[in-house]
Amino acid sequence: MTNKLKHYKQMYTTIKRNVTYIVQTFNETDDLVCDDFQFQKQTGKIIYLDTLTDEEKLDKMLGKAFQQRKDIACLHTYLATVAIETTDDLHKVVSQLTKGSCALFLRDENKIYLFDTPLETERSPEEPENERTIRGSHLGFVENLRTNIFFIRQRVKSEQLRIKYTTLGTESHRNIAIVYMNNLANKDTVKEIEKRVKSITIDSVFAPGFIEECIEEKPLSPFPQNLYTERPDRVEAHLMEGRIAVMSESSTDAIILPVSFFSFFQSPDDYNNRFYAGTVFRWFRLLSFFGTLLLPPLYIALVGFHFEIIPFELVSLVKSSIEGVPFPPFFEAIFMAVTVELIREAGIRLPSPIGETIGIVGGLIIGDAVVNAGLVSNVMVIVIALTAIMSFTIPSYELGNTVRILSLPIMISASMLGFAGIVLSFLFIVIHLCKMESFGVAYLSPLAPLHIRELADAIARFPIWMLRKRPAELRTQKTEKQGKSREWFYDEQ
């Protein structure tokens, strides 16, 4: 635990002993700089971590400014205003130094001045690669927590936007922010999230996945229970629904909770499209969910068990394609599915020119050669390729992966029990989804439990002025999202 740091340590009376203490606490690290400070008769020491501190800021605060000052009394008032804090606790000094502050010890004084001088290097914000949109904002989060919160504050100019900081990681001390709308989000949910986040005792929270896995309800479930996003506009939309975002220092992702299954099928683009297009595209995404899960098993069951179900003309077509293939359809499917996974895994980390080559070699050449060699049937290549495309249509990368992996057990049961196997294993997944809850919100809501009005924004995308209420399952403090936004239309008539 962080007890060692929280422990109070009274400063020594001499500067020398104070400095030695700090140098020793930092294990004599080489980037700890200790400069002399002199102003008229007053002398002292400045200590800071060279690698964390912005020299320019430091110079502005403690260098240039003194050229204008004349007397000691003025020095003290000046220091008191510029410093973020004065303290006599050496532990506090140490912990502030690790955050990029600078400490000033003055001779014959029993307090230490701390100055906020962190070096801030950050890349300029870009559009997130994995959440591109055609219209709307193209801003993405960066690796700096303050900047990220700035993006949110810039969008939500409200005094109700509340940010709660905590520190996680017993060694690495990473800042975590819990962001929510104080007048919307359910108070109990906020409390629960805070409780769970604070209960994490890990030495380093190096990825947002650490937080996710420590606070979710069903850690062994294959389904993602939190939504990751790198887009401030998406965070804003979810905050306004009454959800809560958890963000961490040095990460571009915000974790949004509690979410339901259908949140993974929404994309900000839906709301910039005409609502017909938005609705139909959402249907396609839902269709891809079922397609990814069921298409290969359906094919396996059709070929292996229920040939009679497909019309006669198709039978001859399928039969001629699989006649020369020496393997049962299940092995064909596994072989192709593994190939697709390999191509994806190989292409994902390579620089894009090589990645494209891999795609061509893998996709075109292997696909073609495998059919020509008679190892895999034509139809199976089509089925697996279609499945892969469908799985990438799901906006959430995590859910897409989950679904592709889950289709394996369904394939196995389809190859053993045909359609009955598909139904029984699919039911198993559905039952699992029914059992899942995230902070009191049923995972399948608003479908099960049924909230018919909310389906308007879950499996369809109704016009925005018709989406009047927030999801009931979230138990927000205010349920109305808007008044009558198209009142003028009725006034004119």
Binding site: F419, A420, F428, C434, L447, A448, P449, L450
Partner: protein, 362 residues
Amino acid sequence: MNNNNQINGHQFFLILIHSQIGVGMITLANDVHLKAKSDSWISALIAGVFIQCLIFLFGALIHRFPGSNLFEMIEIVIGKVLGKILTFLYCWYFIVSGAILFAKYTIILKSWMLPLTPKWVLISALGILTVYLAIDNLVVISRFFILASLVLVIFLGFVTFSLKDANYTYIMPVGVAGFQNILQGSLITSLSYQGFEYALFFAPFVLTKKNTVVKTMTFTNIFTTLFYTFTILATQLFFSPNELKLIPEPVFYLVKSFSFKVIERPDLLFTSLWLVLVVTSTVVLFFITSFTASSLFKNKKRTPHVFITVAFSLILSLCLKGEDQIAYFSNMYRPFFFVFSIIIPVLILLFSYIFRKSGGEQ
């Protein structure tokens, strides 16, 4: 896990409907036809009315013992020891019902889809699913039932679709079978209504006013009665009486006769969908069974009892070999349905009036 068992009226409705409509609905039209001939649909209606009368009696029972389930009522009325014995018998009655359900499911699945698959594979697949859902609370179960209701809609769609080939002369003249045969038919149909008596167990979980429990039960009964009547009527209009005698699963044959451009044999898809309804009815049955079993012991945890009772049923159903044996056994078992689902609750109501006993928490 079982702490969140409170359900509302809608969830109660769903649970009751799904416990009633299950395996039996496929064979129902044939079973009734053997007795009531072309007047089977009247039998279904009469059975519905008969069940409705029972629902009012049950309503009186629930009203008299608010907040208690059937076993607690029994214990209040006839004493602790007799009550425990009766509860034990109930438990076995449910387990054997489950075994028959499992056995019927395998027969139908084997004859329609998987003739060569060993029986134990099919039964254990269903058993695993049942256990997985039945260990959870009623709220989760009713969530699943909302999704499962989609199958009922598809089912109704198929049956309605068959009306395009309806031949109205098949059910003419109305009433030709005779009053006695129609009544006997309705006795057989009432077996398919098995599940309405579960209301006596679920009533304490329902978070509504007392009257709404009876109201919901009535709605459920109206739905089920119309559903069965419609199904029977549709099959009767589609198949001639002579055909109906020969086909054990009329609904599947009905769907089998269709053929679409893309799907040549919709009955195979339909049979797979029917599995959903089988799962829903076994889940409710074993929820109740495990509940009964756990109320026998001091430890009220239901989860281990789900495993044990399903295992018992699985083993029993594996012991039943061959179609004839199962048919014989389930015929033998019919009277028990009337005893446990109808006669005992009604007697309890009578005794409670005679001995002037009522109770439960107000």
